[in-house]
């Protein structure tokens, strides 16, 4: 039997001792890094790309990406990306990698304002339905009934309200050119998510408007499940409340 190579290490993805080793086994952040590296290479923009990581499990992802990048205060990635984009102008491609808490709890004001301004940046929100880095507290995206360290009896809507569907919600802002939600639970969705990210970056490169991609990620340590069990939960629970797909795709803002 001859071996056929079906995948290799993306050119721009660095196996970094800290950044690359940070995601726990079964976490989606490693795949987010991989897809970002693939898409930036395929679009041929690594020479102008800048990736800003918010605070959360992806905060050192820039170490694994072989183009300019860095991190910033918790919740401020969209504002920091705005500062970079406004300074470097059209010649740059600026993206953020943020968690759900970073994006839509502490970072809500920055996200909504950047989206409304039609800021030409691309925001990637990695949604694992909890605060992974700090040990599994409730996030704005935690599912109803989800047990976290701050909802020990399960998230109760009478006390803590309802999860936020950011990819859908943000479509209501006129500055948004593109919004989608992807997942890495199977090859089909992996490819679809990669396509979403490519399209999102194209909206920026073509100067159309703000672009947003939410990516669902398992969190084995804090979901207290094995990586495989996490995939089941992702498909049977998380993706029910957070369906994958494109929610907005404009070639011109209205």
């Amino acid at each position: 039997m001859t071996k056929k190579k079906i995948a290799g290490q993306p050119k721009l993805w660095i196996r970094h001792p800290v950044g690359g080793g940070f995601p726990c086994p079964g976490c989606g952040h490693g795949l987010v890094q991989r897809v970002v590296a693939e898409v930036i290479e395929e679009l041929g923009v690594e020479g102008k790309a800048v990736a800003i990581c918010g605070v959360g499990c992806g905060w050192l992802s820039f170490l694994t990406l072989d183009f300019d990048g860095g991190n910033c205060p918790h919740g401020r990635a969209t504002d920091v990306a705005t500062g970079i984009k406004r300074s470097l102008g059209d010649k740059s491609v600026v993206l953020t990698i943020q968690g759900d808490g970073d994006t839509i709890a502490i970072g809500t004001e920055g996200l909504i304002s950047a989206a409304a301004r039609a800021e030409k940046i691309t925001v990637i929100m990695v949604n694992n339905t909890n605060y992974g880095t700090t040990g599994g507290q409730m996030a704005p995206t935690s599912l109803l009934g989800q047990v976290t360290t701050t909802t020990p009896n399960g998230r109760d809507s009478s006390q803590t309200g309802y999860p936020i569907n950011v990819a859908e919600f943000i479509t209501g802002l006129r500055g948004v050119a593109y919004s989608a939600r992807g997942a890495f639970n199977n090859l089909k969705n992996y490819r679809a998510t990669k396509k979403y990210l490519t399209t999102a970056l194209e909206k920026q490169i073509n100067n159309i408007g703000f672009s947003f991609v939410e990516i669902l990620s398992p969190c084995p340590p804090n979901w207290h499940l094995s990586p495989l069990e996490c995939l089941d939960k992702l498909e049977n629970e998380v993706m029910v409340d957070f369906p994958v797909g494109e929610f907005k795709n404009l070639d011109r803002l209205e």
């Binding site: 020479g47 183009f67 300019d68 860095g70 920091v80 705005t82 300074s87 004001e109």
Partner: protein, 363 residues
């Protein structure tokens, strides 16, 4: 040299142009609106960046991003906005990103008043955010100094890769004065080879990284561990303390009483001193130009000669604490503060005659 009549706040804008500042991010707040509006009017037509932000948190975070690209960037705010910026300033210090922030102080605490005050001294000079950082603080008292010190602030920010703060008040900002349109000369600075500009713009083609978690992981070009980070910052802060202290003195050689004041109360103090000298009283002024690093040495020396001190400050007493530390109980320190205003409303002033009365009481 062209000479114009302009508001102190507008002079900040001209200083920024002379300094080669490329971007301004700002949020409306009284009494600094003239600065933000000046940049809104003047910057886009010069091909430079102006952006009105959604909050001062947004402002300081955009400054973080803009500074990371290596351009000169600034903002201005007033006291409640200053509070919101502290998170970002702490991170800018860790990431070693230079920028300039102007705080046109208003009264507080809380909503306080939108009018003049000198109540942010402690917050601004003691690194009001978390983590015990330090930064240079410049204190102008005229429109000309507003324009000149902004240029110095950019130079010092780049020299140390650290934010520099200019602390003003609405008297300095909203008074119209003659202003000489002049670009100042400074020593050459190193290239910002660390900036995020896209790696295609770099001869070696290698990526650059900026991060505000320096000291937390071991990887050049970032500082490798916590001990190294603290030692590195300590060196920078000590170098600033050694090299950057600036103050103006006025009639201090034979003075038996020296006033210490900055901003608008320094101007009030000069007038009171002129009146006192006319009456034969030996009084002078030390006006710190850098509130941090603080001109402790000259104050200590004079205290050692037995000179008494009077701090004139439109607050309940903040600058006076630094003067007391410098004097170390060698001599007496007196205080004229916000409770001595000519009337107790937000529009009240510490007027020269009030300071003169206090001088006469002491001497």
């Amino acid at each position: 040299m062209e000479r114009i009549l302009c508001y102190g706040n507008d002079a900040v804008g001209w200083g920024a142009v002379f300094a080669g500042c490329e971007a301004f991010f700002g949020y409306p707040i009284t009494p600094q609106n003239e600065i933000t509006e000046w940049f809104a009017r003047e910057y886009p037509k010069r091909g430079k960046v102006f952006l009105q932000t959604q909050s001062e948190i947004g402002t300081i975070s955009m400054i973080y991003g803009a500074a990371a690209t290596g351009i000169r960037v600034m903002s201005s705010t007033s006291s409640p906005g200053w509070s919101l910026m502290l998170e970002g300033i702490s991170h800018l210090v860790n990431a070693e990103l230079p920028c300039v922030i102007v705080d046109v102080q208003r009264g507080g605490p809380g909503m306080g008043t939108t009018q003049h005050s000198q109540m942010d001294y402690t917050s601004v000079t003691k690194g009001g955010g978390h983590g015990g950082y330090k930064h240079i603080v410049l204190a102008p008292s005229t429109a000309q100094q507003n324009g000149d010190y902004v240029q110095s602030a950019f130079y010092l920010a780049d020299k140390y890769r650290n934010p520099v703060i200019m602390i003003s008040d609405s008297i300095v900002g909203q008074m119209m004065e003659p202003f000489e349109m002049k670009a100042l000369d400074f020593d050459p600075l190193p290239e910002k080879g660390w900036a995020l500009t896209g790696k295609e713009n770099r001869a070696n083609g290698e990526r650059n990284m900026v991060q505000c978690g320096q000291g937390l992981f071991f990887e050049p070009p970032h500082i490798p561990n916590y001990g190294a980070l603290l030692a590195h910052l300590d060196n920078k802060f000590k170098e600033m303390e050694k090299s950057e202290v600036k103050f103006e003195s006025y009639f201090i050689d034979d003075a038996e009483l020296i006033l210490v004041a900055y901003g608008y109360t320094a101007r009030v103090s000069r007038e009171a001193i002129n009146d006192a000298r006319n009456e034969g009283l030996k009084v002078g002024l030390i006006q710190p130009i850098t509130l941090w690093p603080f001109p402790s040495q000259i104050i200590r020396e004079k205290a050692g000669e037995g000179v008494k001190f009077l701090v004139v400050e439109d607050s309940l007493g903040q600058l006076v604490e630094d003067v007391k530390v410098a004097i170390a109980e060698r001599t007496e320190v007196f205080f004229v503060g916000a409770l001595s205003r000519h009337n107790p409303t937000p529009g009240g002033f510490i007027l020269p005659h009030i300071v003169l009365e206090k001088i006469k009481e002491i001497v």
